[in-house]
């Protein structure tokens, strides 16, 4: 479902060109559980941003469900992001003035889903993430683990086909981190494609497919099913 071909991302800082990604080719099939590991600055986040259509590569092509996604206009890309891709960040990124339920409902609101249907879907996700009793709490009234669960519920509320998580446990204690990983794995088990960026090897090794990056290149990929 995801196919990257020779993706390069160059940042120009002053006179210097930094190759954040240097010719990445990658094939990820639906339902895979992929971890991306590597030292800081190796290009993991940049890769995830390009996969999530938040950033454009300097060169290379990106096919999502067979579609040359980078050739589409801004509004269509925004819509693809909304409908097919879920994002989870290290720092949760919840809107502080909104309640947990309102935060989760944001993508539905952007998609123009009517309020009654929104309510039902949000309630279902609150339940799935064990947050039903926290629906009306604001982010500052929630623990880190709870906030990240709200973020996951928000990422899942549009039933995307792929979930991109950038260091989802990076800001959590060990216990909460494990909780989050279990939740993500449960979602993967029910069919979601899961891509997790982490520098924690104990978390990275849980994934069936592990990709190792360094200096903007993939240096190891244990793909069980060889990429075609």
């Amino acid at each position: 479902m995801i196919r990257l071909r020779e993706i390069t991302r160059v940042y120009t800082v002053g006179e210097q060109a930094v190759h954040a990604l240097d010719g990445i080719s990658l094939h990820i099939t639906a339902g895979e559980y992929v971890s991306i590991m590597g030292p800081s600055g190796s290009g993991k986040s940049t890769l995830l941003h390009i996969l999530g259509l938040l950033d454009r590569p300097t060169r290379g092509r990106y096919f999502l469900d067979g579609e040359d996604i980078l050739s589409l206009d801004e509004a269509t890309q925004a819509r693809t992001r909304r409908e097919k891709i879920g994002f989870v960040f290290q720092f949760f990124h919840l809107i502080p003035r909104l309640t947990a339920a309102e935060n989760i409902a944001l993508p539905l609101m952007l998609a123009g889903v009517p309020a009654t249907e929104r309510k039902a879907r949000v309630a279902r996700l609150l339940e799935e993430t064990a947050l039903s009793d926290r629906a009306r709490h604001r982010p500052d009234q929630l623990s880190g683990g709870q906030q990240q669960r709200v973020a996951i519920a928000r990422a899942m509320v549009m039933s995307p086909s792929v979930l991109l998580a950038d260091e989802p446990t990076g800001n959590l204690d060990r216990h909460s981190g494990e909780e989050i990983i279990h939740l993500l794995e449960r979602l993967n088990a029910s069919g979601l494609t899961l891509i997790v960026v982490t520098h924690d090897p104990t978390i990275g090794r849980r994934a069936r497919r592990q990709i190792q990056m360094e200096d903007g290149r993939i240096i190891a990929d244990n793909a069980k099913e060889p990429a075609s």
Binding site: L54, I85, R97, M109, L110, A111, G112, P114, R154
Partner: protein
């Protein structure tokens, strides 16, 4: 994204930044209120002035001898004929229309007035009892000219306040005999009205019956005939009636000019309308200032909310969504600000109207509408730049700012 959701989201944002929101609302409200109060003042001044003019005599027509085109040159002189004079008979004839409420012939001259040892030169006005209601004058003491003033040259006089003071001092004037030239007139009343009328200071006048004035000045001809139409709509028909009637009486000669008060009034009306527009325009500048404030505060807010904008984009918001969200905020601000401004402006106008009851200080509906529309347009215009900046923001850069 649904309109209701956009509204709800923007409103929540505005509420969570209370002091900033209040500041912007205040600026907008003050701008709108300034427009409302200033146009109300302008409108009040306009009404006051036109009202004052109207009080000189409503629905008034002034008949002058001579045609306006030929006045000054008087071509009749070369043809061996003088322009025909207006007479008391002409004035009488003008009473014969149901559209005419009253007619007052006027003779003006000047005479030497004296009482005992005191004397002075006074303007003398000869007319009839109709003059008092026609000019909306008031009596201070005694009564005005008798009803038969046109027919009988009774030796009576009504005097203005200055004449009374200068000739009679502290002594009672009514009932005394006043000398004008070689003749004596009994003072029957004193005018309360002061100020100028037909180019004369009312308080300096001595008014005598028109027939007495004809005798005093030894002339049958009138200076003017003042005609009051019954209604405003009747002014034009009455004008035609006057022209026809006098033409018939003057052997087919069109030798008079009729001036209507309407022309003068509408000039003043236009001047004050322009004045009101000018002050409203100046007040509108404060609206623009409010707009610029909104723009600045929103630009700061865009920077402060970078993470949120980046997040919304990551959640699938398009540029259009972001633009809409920020524009809606600006619009809500200007809408509520404008509403508050209208209320404050109306309250201000009301207070001024209470303080100066002579001025009818109320903003005209067009001004309210215009202030409202300009406020919304300002919000939209100055909200556009921040909204576009937010929409163009790179989501990664926006997200990593935490």
């Amino acid at each position: 994204m649904k309109a209701g959701d956009i509204l709800a989201f923007s409103q929540k944002t505005l509420r969570s930044h209370r002091s900033r929101t209040l500041l912007m609302l205040l600026a907008m409200a003050m701008g709108v209120a300034a427009v409302v109060v200033l146009t109300a003042l302008g409108e009040g001044a306009r009404r006051y002035i036109t009202g004052e003019f109207a009080s000189l005599g409503t629905n008034l027509l002034i008949v002058l001898p001579g045609r306006s085109e030929t006045r000054g040159v008087a071509p009749g002189l070369f043809m061996g004929e003088t322009p025909r004079n207006l007479t008391v008979g002409d004035a009488r004839a003008l009473e014969r229309s149901s559209r005419v409420r009253r007619v007052a012939p006027v003779i003006i001259g000047s005479a030497h007035a004296s009482w005992r040892q005191r004397e002075r030169e006074v303007p003398v006005l000869g007319s009839t009892s109709e003059l008092l209601p026609l000019r909306h004058w008031k009596m201070k003491q005694g009564r005005f000219l008798p009803p038969d003033a046109a027919a009988r040259a009774s030796p009576v006089a009504v005097i203005g306040a200055n004449v009374r003071r200068e000739l009679f001092g502290a002594r009672p004037a009514v009932g005394e005999w006043l000398r004008l030239g070689e003749r004596r007139y009994r003072v029957i009343g004193i005018l309360a009205t002061e100020g100028r009328s037909i180019g004369l200071d009312v308080e300096d006048l001595v008014i005598i019956p028109v027939s007495s004035a004809q005798a005093l000045f030894n002339t049958p001809s009138l200076f003017r005939i003042l005609v009051e139409a019954r209604t405003r709509d009747a002014i034009l028909p009455v004008r035609n009636f006057i022209l026809d009637t006098i033409q018939k009486r003057h052997q087919g000669e069109k030798d008079i000019t009729v001036i209507t008060q309407d022309a003068v009034l509408s000039t003043f009306d236009r001047i004050f309308q322009a004045l009101t527009l000018t002050v409203a325009g100046i007040a509108a500048i404060s609206l623009a200032v409010a707009g610029i404030l909104i723009m600045n505060v929103m630009l700061v807010s865009v920077t402060q909310r970078m993470a949120e904008i980046g997040l919304l984009k990551a959640l699938g918001a398009s540029r259009r969504h972001i633009t809409l969200l920020f524009l809606t905020e600006a619009l809500i601000l200007s809408f509520i600000g404008a509403c508050a401004g209208l209320l404050v402006g109306e309250a201000g106008s009301w207070l001024i109207a209470r303080a100066y009851p002579a001025l009818q200080v109320t903003a005209p509906p067009w001004a309210l509408l215009a202030a409202f529309a300009v406020a919304l347009a300002t919000g939209l215009l100055f909200g556009l730049l921040p909204a576009r900046r937010a929409a163009r923001m790179d989501p990664i850069a926006a997200l990593s700012r935490q």
